[in-house]
C-alpha cells in the first residue's frame, strides 16, 4: 500500500471534501510553530505529496485540540490526517521520535503519568 492510501485508511478522511477555505489553519493555535499548516496537510495528502510531511516537525506540533475538526465547514477533520501522517512516520523503521532514555530529562514533578503514556503512544513505535 502506498503512503497516501495508508494515511487515508488510518484517518478515514476524504481530503476531496476540502473546499480550501483555510478555516482550519485560521483556527489552529499551533499555527506559527508549524511548517505545514492544517489546510496544507489536507492538500498535500490529497495530491500525494507525503514525503515532506513525514519529515516535518509539524507532526509533533499539533496539540490534538481538534479546533480544526470542530470548525471545518466541510467535515474534513484535518487533525485526523495529521494524526495519520504521524502514525505513518513512527511506523517507519527506526523513526522513533522519542526514546525512553530521553524521557527523564523532560519530566518534572508536575508531569502527569497520562502524558508520559500518550507521548509513547503517539511518538514511538
Amino acid at each position: 500500500m502506498d503512503k497516501r492510501e495508508e494515511i487515508l485508511l488510518i484517518s478515514g478522511v476524504d481530503p476531496k471534501k476540502c473546499m480550501r477555505c483555510g478555516k482550519c489553519s485560521a483556527t489552529c493555535p499551533s499555527y506559527d510553530e508549524m511548517e505545514y499548516h492544517p489546510h496544507q496537510f489536507v492538500y498535500m495528502v490529497e495530491t500525494g505529496n507525503i514525503e515532506p510531511l513525514l519529515e516535518s516537525k509539524s507532526l509533533y506540533k499539533c496539540l490534538s485540540c481538534f479546533a480544526c475538526i470542530e470548525r471545518c465547514p466541510r467535515d474534513v477533520e484535518p487533525a485526523k490526517l495529521v494524526e495519520a501522517v504521524r502514525l505513518c512516520a513512527i511506523r517507519q523503521k527506526g523513526a522513533n521520535h522519542i526514546k525512553a532514555e530521553d524521557v527523564p530529562e523532560l519530566v518534572d514533578e508536575d508531569t502527569p503519568q497520562q502524558l508520559l503514556m500518550s507521548v509513547f503512544r503517539k511518538y514511538s513505535k
Binding site: 473546499m19 480550501r20 477555505c21 483555510g22 482550519c24 485560521a26 499555527y31 465547514p73 467535515d75
Partner: protein, 672 residues
Amino acid sequence: MHRIGVFVCHCGTNIAATVDVKAVAEAALNETGVVFSADYQYMCSEAGQTLVQDTIKEHKLTGVVVCSCSPRMHEATFRKAAAKAGLNSYMVEIANIREQCSWIHKDMMSGTEKAVILMRAAVAKVKLNAPLTPGQTPVTKRALVIGGGIAGIQTALDIAEAGFDVDIVEKQPTIGGKMTQIDKTFPTLDCASCILTPKMVDCAQNEKIHIYSYSEVESVTGFVGNFTVKIKRKARYIDEKKCTGCGECIEKCPMKKVPNEFNLGLDNRKAIYIPFAQAVPKVATIDSNYCIKLKTGKCGLCSTVCGAGAIDYTQQDTIIEEKYGAIVAATGYNPINIEKFDEFAYSQSPDVITSLELERLMNAAGPSNGTLVRPSYLSNQHDPEAHPHTIVFVQCVGSRSTECRKGSKEYCSKICCMYTAKHAMLIREKYPDTDVYVFYIDVRTPGKLFDEFYRRAVEQYGVHYIKGMVGKVAPKADGKLNVQASDLISNEQLHIDADLVVLATAIEPDKSARSIGTMLTASMDTNDFFTEAHPKLRPVESPTAGVFLSGVAQGPKDIPETVTQASAAAAKVIGILVKDQLTGNPCVAHSDELMCNGCSACEKVCPYGAITYSDKEFRQPDRTVAIRRVASVNPAVCQGCGACTVACPSGAMDLKGFSNQQIMAEVDAICR
C-alpha cells in the same frame, strides 16, 4: 378489432446508442393488435408527428404507442398530434425508453430487452384505453399573492396591470419585506427605499390590489381556477379605515422598551407602532405582548389622544374567506440564526453583527441616523471611540457548509459576495480613514456589472480582500475584537484588532414556508425552498397546478432576479385568469357504487377533498330497496393522484385512464 401503431424514437443517440430501436420496432409487430411499427430519429419533430398523423389516417389506427422519452416531456405533444388526425387523445400511450431505459443502461443487450418489455406493457395497456373527454371548469378571476416583499409587490402590480384583481396577504403590519431594511442596493447603489416606496404606494393606490397586512393564510382548499382560501386578519387593535397614520398615539405611549424588529433589535420602539415612515398601509399596530392596557387593563393613553377614534382594544382576530383562480407563493427569506457559530462571538459582543444589521446602521432612518458607529456605543454615539477604524467582513458564514455544523446550509446564499463588496465600498467612500478587510473563500459575482463592481471595491476603494477564512473572533478587555484568520496566499495566520466584525450570514426560507407549502400541496426541497415544476423550463411554476413561485421563496436571489421572476410568475397567473374555462384532466377517480361499502377510507387519503358520501337507494335482488352510504368523486376537484384507488378495500375506486385492469395488463405483459 384493435389496430395499434407503434413508433420507436431514436432521440438522436440518446436512445439509439443503448437501445436497438429497429429491433424494438420489429418486436412490436409480434404483438397481437399491432398493425404498424416504425422507428424514427426524432418522433417529437414536426416530421415525426406527421408520421403519426398520416399513419393514423392511412392504417385507421385505434391506438398509438410512442416509445420515447418520459411522458412528462412529450405525452401532451403526441396526444395533440393524435387528436389532429381524429384519434381521441387518450388513445395514446408512451413507453418511456429513455429516462427509464437507455439513460440508465450501459449495454445494448439489456437496454434493448427492457425497451421491448416496456413497449409490450404499453401495447397491452392501450388496448384497454377508452376515449376520454376532459371537462371544463370556470375560473375565478382573482389572484392571491402570499408575502408582500418586492417579489409579491411586483407580481401583484403586474397582475393588476393586466386588469385582474389581486390580493396580497402580508404577515407584517406593512408590505415591503427585507428591501425596506436595506440602505443602498448593488450594483448601482441607488437607495432601496427610493426605488421601493413608489411601488409600495402604487400597490396601495391601485384599485385592483387589495392588501391584507398583518394577516396570514389559514387554509387553502380547491384547485387551479377555483381555490378557496381562509385568511386570518390578526387583531392590530386599530380600525384601519379610521387611522390616519398621524403618529400621535406613538408619541404618547409610555411603553418604550420594545425591541424594534425593523432595526433588528438595535433600538427600541413603543407598544403602539408604525414600523417605518413609508409603511404601507400607514396604519398603527398595537403589540399585544407589550401594551399595558391589553396586559393589565390600565393605561389606554393612545385612545385618548387618537383624534380619529381608531383605537379599539376589544378587536379580535377575524377570519375571512376568498376565492382565487391562482396563488403565488412569495414568502421570502430570513438570515439564519448564527448564535450557534460561537467562534465568531456574535452573542458575546454587540460589535459582531450580521450584514442586515449593518444595513440598519448605515441607513439614515436607522438607530444611528446613518452614522456608522460601533453598536456598543449606540447609546453614546458622540464618544470619539464610537467610530470604527478597523472593520472585518467574513463571507460565507453558515453557507456552503455540510450538515456537520448544525443550522448551517449546504448551498451558497448567492447575494452575500455582492452585498459585502457594497458594504465595504460604501464604508471606504464615506470614511476613508477606515481599514476594511474582507475574508473570502471565493468571490462569486456572476451577473451584469457585478464583477466590475467587486473589482471597483478592490482597485478604487482599497478594500483589502484576503483569500482565507476567519477562524476565531475573541473580544478583548479593551473592547476590541481579536480576529484570527488565515491568509492562504501568503500562507500566514493573521491577527487583526477590529472595532467591528460583520458576518455575511446565510439566508434561509421564511419559517412559515413549510406550512404554506403543505396548505398549497406545493412541493419543497430539503432546504424548504419551493420546488419548481421544471428547474430549467418551468422555473416559476410549482408542480401543483395554479400555484406559482416568486422571489427568494424559490431560492436565493438578489433584487433584479427577484423582480424578473416576479413578473414571470405574474405572466403565468394572467395566462390562467384570462381564460373563462379551464380544461380539466379526465383521468379522474370514480367509484363503483355497487361495490362501495361507505367505509370512508378513500375520503381520508384524498389530499384534495374530492370525495363526498351520500345515502342512495339500491334495489336488492329480492326486489326490496336498501339505503347505503356510498362515495362519489367530484371530477372537477379530483387531480387523478390515485391515492383512493389504493386505499379502497372493496376495489370500488378506480382511475380513468389508469384502471386496475389496465395496470394488471401491463404487469402481465411485463411478466410474460
